[in-house]
Subunit: 323 residues, 2 copies
Amino acid sequence: MNIGIDVMGGDFAPLEAIKGIHEYLTSNHFPNSKQVTITAIGNQSAIESLLKEYQLTHIPIVHAEDVIGYNEHPTKALKEKPKSSISIGFHLLATQKIDAFISAGNTGAMLVGALFSIKAIEGVIRPTIATILPKLNGNTGLLLDVGLNADCKPEHLEQFAVLGSLYAQHILHISNPKVGLLNVGEEEGKGNILAQSTFPLLKSNTQIHFNGNVEGRDLFNDKADVIVCDGFTGNVVLKLAESFYDIAHQRNFHNDSYIQRFHYENYGGTPVLGVAKPVIIGHGISNAKAFANMIDVAEKMIETELCKKIEQSFQNQKAVSTE
Amino acid sequence: MNIGIDVMGGDFAPLEAIKGIHEYLTSNHFPNSKQVTITAIGNQSAIESLLKEYQLTHIPIVHAEDVIGYNEHPTKALKEKPKSSISIGFHLLATQKIDAFISAGNTGAMLVGALFSIKAIEGVIRPTIATILPKLNGNTGLLLDVGLNADCKPEHLEQFAVLGSLYAQHILHISNPKVGLLNVGEEEGKGNILAQSTFPLLKSNTQIHFNGNVEGRDLFNDKADVIVCDGFTGNVVLKLAESFYDIAHQRNFHNDSYIQRFHYENYGGTPVLGVAKPVIIGHGISNAKAFANMIDVAEKMIETELCKKIEQSFQNQKAVSTE
């Protein structure tokens, strides 16, 4: 398999991306790294000198003479900069030259690229982005949507539950993941119109294991492995949780082993779920460890054929609903 | 002034309420306590023996032979239990026998009582409940709505901004409080339909000092003193923030002076804003300190004539909009 990385994305580009490739290929944390080819996309001479410095060989380079900046308008930038590392990455992914694409660059451009160059899997109404929830019991949960879909309908949340369950099962190794609906109370009937209308859909969906409503206080406990909500609420929650890590840092208790798990570098980026190929978006501040983790997630998504499993799941669902 | 307390509300009733009255009346933290009469509403004999134990005199008692339980249906319970401490409290408040009413009992019954026995101030479309935000700089902010209005319209959020600003000004002593709209990005135009439509209303409202969008990471920083959002998002945020205190406790860094400020007992309960009289709802687990703080907030709301100021503000606004 071949994983493409935009090494020009992120605040410390291209250094941290290359260091991340190095960490991924040399660290014992990543047992499957031997089978993986990593393609570096970006400025050829900058990449070559860093590869030399980090004694990395067998890393194919695809030169990109342009970069999309952080503040550029996503659609406009993708159109006007076909030679940017993100545009080239999506082109390589769309034409089967690479099997997954990772970037810590302009998030909007990554989302637009994923939706329009790669496209949604048939049956998926709205692709979504998820974040990892570090559970107090040591396990890992998933929250989605965290910002791609600010306004949602019940059927979107239902699909997020299916997408999240498949991700939890195959990538996080949670068998029969419990799905929770983020809400303001435990009982059925609670919530805003969206949550009230979503509850019966989740309850009757046989593809998932729905465990009822969860509240803001339940995000890190054991009530649900996959928590679904609209992207507005999810984005507020994500950024609030990130700010708690920053507060912990500021107040000097960030070395707590649980709080450490809130550090973005351990997440391995945000997968775009529901598009036809693995696309992973990194934090702008991504460091080497974050890049190594993103490569690891991409490897798992390819290895488990997650996108194919999602496709099959939505085909089956379609077959069931048209029976 | 006369503040009524339902001493039967809360997990440790009536003991902690009486201890709270004692703390309020004897502690130096509450300089205005000398001018305040506190009326205890609940089981007469239980109250009498506790008042004796805590050597409290001059506490009028209003006997209530019934109690509304935590799991009772609010509207039904209020109708069927006119002799419950909550029903009697609202009756006393509605008939000017007391000037504010506090309870840590059934939250739903407190909200229904506030909305239907006391009623909204003219011009207020939706009364709201707020929570305190402990700021990293030592100040205190306000987040609203935190659960009374799960589905909101832009004009509701605009009114929350006015109500919150008046509370911040008169009770929290923040002059010219900055208002922030909770959103998924900083720039105007970001957000779900609600946030997008609320932004221009806040921007053009001359009664408030709108400072633009704030994100989930900005709740505890200096960007805004009053943060408005729909009650669904606000409730999720509130419970998530509360859970961080619990996590801090579990992980043993809750003694940090900043984290301490997240402890519910320091909040002084949740005021219902936009109803004609001061109503304060306590946490079920309220202890003596929480009750003392709730009495203090009630005292300030009466002393500053906050409800009258809200009424005037909404009258002025009406005059402006019909000019």
